[in-house]
Assembly symmetry: none
Homo-oligomer: 419 residues x 2
DNA sequence: AAACAAGGTCACAAGGTCAA
DNA sequence: TTGACCTTGTGACCTTGTTT
C-alpha cells in the first residue's frame, strides 16, 4: 500500500525532516539558553547547552588553568551574558557547575530521545518559571501543568525511582534522597524519575576529575543538586570548594549544612536537564532505566494526547506541551510501559512467543542512556530486557493514536538543535 | 487503516517503526555491549557486537587509514565509551582486536542459535566478571557454571575445534596453538569448543588482510586464542604488532611478558563476544555439528532454567545473571530473557506514533511547526544456520518456564538484537 | 515477511581560525 | 582574549539488500 510509495522514494522518506534540534536560533524549535551565561545556546557543548562563547572559553580554559586568576569578589560573581568575561574564575566555576566536562563529550547527532527529553524539560522549566513568576518565590511553585504532572505519568515514573537512587548512591550522593524528597521541586519523584538520568550525569562530571589533572583543582566536591541555569541562575551556586580559585570558600561542614538548604532552591530544571553527554557516560543501571523511562515518556505523551483537556489546564501559555506528540513505536512492543489500565490490558504477555530477534525494538535508546549517565561504566549494564511480545495488541490503539494525531493536525516536531 | 498510517507516518518506511523516534537501537533485549567501547551495542557489525559509533568508525577508518594518526600514548589507550574518540589508532586497534573485519561481514537474519550463543556467552561473561570482581585476579576463575560447561554442550562444540585451528594455520599463526594452550585461559578446550565459532572468526580477521591492502599495516600478528571474555578477560591481550601505529611497541618477548599484565586491563567483554562474522566463515564441518550443538544448547538452556540454583553460583552480585531466562521457543517463539522483574511484565507497548513536533509550543511561534519525524530501526540477523528444529521439546516446559518467569517477575527473554 | 547488517546521509559537536 | 565561523569527523538515522 502506501508504504510502497515510501519504498519508491528512497529518500523522501526524509521529507519529514528529521528532527532537528535547534537551540536557539531563534526561534523555532527548541530554544535553549546557555546554562552558564543565559544567552541563547549554540548547542550542547562539553556536557551542557552553552553559547559559542562559553564553549570556547571552557575549551580554552580547561587546558590552560594558569590563565585564570583568582576571583576578586570572593568567588561570588553571578555570571550572565553581560559580565561573563569579567571573572574567569567564576565563569569556569559556573561551567563546571552546570556539568561541563571535557571528558564527557560526545560527538554526532543526538538521538531523538535526547531531543525529546530536552523538549520536555524545557517545557517544565518554562512552566515552573511561569509559576514562580506569578507565584511567590518562597513557596515552591506549583507543579507546572504538563504531562509530567499527570498522574498517570507520575505513576509510571515512580518505578524508576529506585534506579535513580541507586545511581545516586553509586555516586555517593545519598543525601540526594533527602533533597529529592523535598517538596520544593515539583513532584520530585516524577521528575526525578524522568530526570533521574540526568541527575546522575550531572554529577558525574565529578568523576571526570581524573581526566585532566589540572582540572582536579576545580573539582567540585560533591554536587548539590544542580539547579537549572536558566531558571534561576543565581540560585544555585554550588558550594565553593577544592580549589581556592574556583571554590575558595569551601568548607566541608559549611557545605554539608547547605546541602539541604540548597536543594529546595534547586531548580527542577537542572535536574531535568538533558543529561550532559550522552553516550559517554552511562551508568551501570542506566540501561535498565532507559527503557523504562522511555516507556514512561511515551506513555505520558500518549496520554496527554488522548486527553488534551488535562494538559490544557493552565498552560495556555504557549508551551503547549500539548503538542508534543511523540510517537514511539515499538513495533511490537515490548513491554508495556504503560501502566495505564487500558494499555495494560492489552498485553497478555505471558505466553508470548519468545522473540529472538536481536535488535530490540523497544525502547531504549542509547542516547538516553547516555543522557543520563555517565560514568562508570563498569560492569553492568544491563538493561532490562523486555519481552516483547509480538503481539500486536496495540495496533488498534496505535493506529487510532496515529490517526488522532493527524487529525489534530499536529505535526511532527522538528527537533533540530541548530539552525 | 494501515495505508493510512503510512500516510500518517512519512517515515514509515521504517518498518515498524513508525515511530518517530526510536530510541535507537540501542540495545535491547539481548543486551550486548560494544566490544570496542562498552556502550550498548546496536548490533553485530563487521564481525563483532558494536555500537553505531564504532561501527561507523570502523567502516570509515578501514578505507581511510591515512586519517589515523599515531597514538600519543604509546598505543596503550584503553578504549571506553567516554574516550573512544580520543585516540583513533587505539580505537581501530581495538576494533581489530575484537575481530572486526570488512571482509567477514554477513547479512540477513541471524539464527536463533546464534542468538542463544550470544546469550549464553553473555551470561558467562557476567558470571566471570562477577567472579573476578570478588575473586582473585591472579588465579583463573573457576569456570562459570552454565550450560557451556555442560558435557553435552562441550561435546557438541568440539567438532568445530579443528576448523579453527586450520584457520589459524592458514593465517600462519601456528603459535596460536601455544598461546591457546596456555593455561591462562580457563579451560581452553571447552571454551574453545563452544566459542570455537567465534574464536575462529575472531581470528579470521587476520585473513582479511588481503582484502584491504592498507589494512595490512594494522594486521595483528598472531592472535592468541581469544578467550571468552567472561572467563578470563584479561587473559587475552593480543600482542601489538605489525604496523607501528597500531602496534608500535610490539615485540615478541615484550608481548609475552606483558601478556599477563595487559590482561587485567583488558575488558572481559572482548573475549566473549560471539563470533565475529558468521556466514562467511563457516567452517567445513560446521554445519554438521551445528544441529547437534544446537540441541545441546537448548538442552542446557532449559536445564539451567529449571535449576536456577546453578547459575546463581557466585554471581550474586548485581549482574544478575540473574534473570536470564532463556526460553526457547518453538515455533513461535523466540527466546525471551528478562532481566527486570518489574518492568518486564508490562505491557506491550503500543506503538503509536507519536508526534514529536516541538515547535509548537514552547517557544516560539507555532506557526512553523516543522515536521519531523524520524525513526529508525534496524534489523538484524544472524548467521548460524539452523533453525531450530525441534522446537518442540519443550513446549510444556517452555510454557511452564514462561510462567515461572512471570511469577518471578522475570519476563521472557527477547533475543532480538536491535530495537 | 521478518530480522539483520552494510552503507549512506547528514545533524551535530570538538577544535581551529582570526578579526575585533 | 573573545567568540563568530569554518573544518573535521562522529554517530543517529535511514535505506538496501541479504538471509532465515
Ligand atoms: Zn554562555
Ligand atoms: Zn568572580
Ligand atoms: Zn563502541
Ligand atoms: Zn592511543
Amino acid at each position: 500500500m502506501m508504504q510502497t510509495d515510501t519504498d519508491l522514494n528512497p529518500y523522501n522518506a526524509y521529507q519529514n525532516a528529521p528532527i532537528i534540534f535547534k537551540p536557539h536560533p531563534g526561534h523555532n524549535q527548541m530554544s535553549q539558553t546557555c546554562k552558564v551565561c543565559g544567552e541563547p545556546a549554540a548547542g550542547f557543548h562539553f556536557g551542557a547547552f552553552t553559547c559559542e562563547g562559553c564553549k570556547s572559553f571552557f575549551g580554552r580554559s580547561y587546558n590552560n588553568l594558569s590563565s585564570i586568576s583568582e576571583c576578586k569578589n570572593n568567588s561570588e560573581c553571578i555570571i550572565n551574558k553581560k559580565n561573563r568575561t569579567a571573572c574567569k574564575a567564576c565563569r569556569l566555576r559556573k561551567c563546571l557547575y552546570v556539568g561541563m566536562s571535557k571528558s564527557g563529550s560526545r560527538y554526532g547527532r543526538r538521538s531523538n530521545w535526547f531531543k525529546i527529553h530536552c523538549l520536555l524539560q524545557e517545557q517544565q522549566q518554562q512552566a515552573a518559571a511561569a509559576a514562580a513568576a506569578q507565584g511567590n518565590r518562597t513557596t515552591p511553585p506549583p507543579p507546572p501543568r504538563n504531562m509530567f504532572n499527570h498522574p498517570s505519568y507520575l505513576a509510571g515514573m515512580s518505578c524508576r525511582q529506585p534506579s535513580r537512587k541507586e545511581d545516586l548512591m553509586l555516586l555517593g550522593y545519598e543525601e540526594y534522597k533527602h533533597s529529592s524528597a523535598s517538596p520544593a521541586v515539583s513532584s520530585p519523584d516524577s521528575h526525578n524519575s524522568d530526570s533521574s538520568v540526568e541527575v546522575g550525569d550531572r554529577r558525574n562530571f565529578l568523576i571526570r576529575q581524573s581526566v585532566n589533572p589540572n582540572m582536579a583543582l576545580f573539582q567540585l566536591p560533591q554536587l548539590p543538586q544542580l539547579p537549572f541555569a536558566d531558571l534561576n541562575p543565581l540560585a544555585m551556586m554550588p558550594p565553593p570548594r577544592v580549589h581556592q580559585i574556583l571554590f575558595p570558600t569551601y568548607n566541608a561542614s559549611f557545605y554539608a549544612q547547605h546541602q539541604s538548604l540548597l536543594k529546595p532552591a534547586i531548580e527542577p530544571s537542572l535536574i531535568n536537564s538533558p543529561s550532559s553527554n550522552n553516550n559517554n557516560r552511562l551508568e551501570p543501571n542506566y540501561n535498565k532505566c532507559a527503557e523504562e523511562v522511555k516507556r514512561y515518556y511515551l506513555d505520558a505523551v500518549l496520554k496527554s494526547q488522548r486527553s488534551p483537556a488535562i494538559k490544557r489546564e493552565q498552560d495556555e501559555d504557549e508551551d503547549d506541551t500539548r503538542e508534543i506528540v511523540v510517537s514511539m513505536t515499538p513495533p511490537r512492543s515490548p513491554v508495556a510501559v504503560s501502566r495505564s489500565p487500558s494499555l495494560a490490558s492489552q498485553a497478555p504477555s505471558q505466553d508470548n512467543p519468545i522473540d529472538l530477534s536481536m535488535k530490540a525494538n523497544s525502547s531504549t535508546s542509547d542516547e538516553m542512556r547516555t543522557m543520563s549517565c555517565e560514568d562508570s561504566d563498569l560492569s553492568d549494564d544491563e538493561h532490562e530486557k523486555r519481552s516483547s511480545s509480538n503481539s500486536e495488541l496495540g495496533d488498534d490503539d496505535y493506529d487510532s493514536e496515529v490517526k488522532r494525531s493527524k487529525i489534530n493536525g499536529t505535526t511532527p516536531l522538528d527537533l533540530t538543535t541548530k539552525v
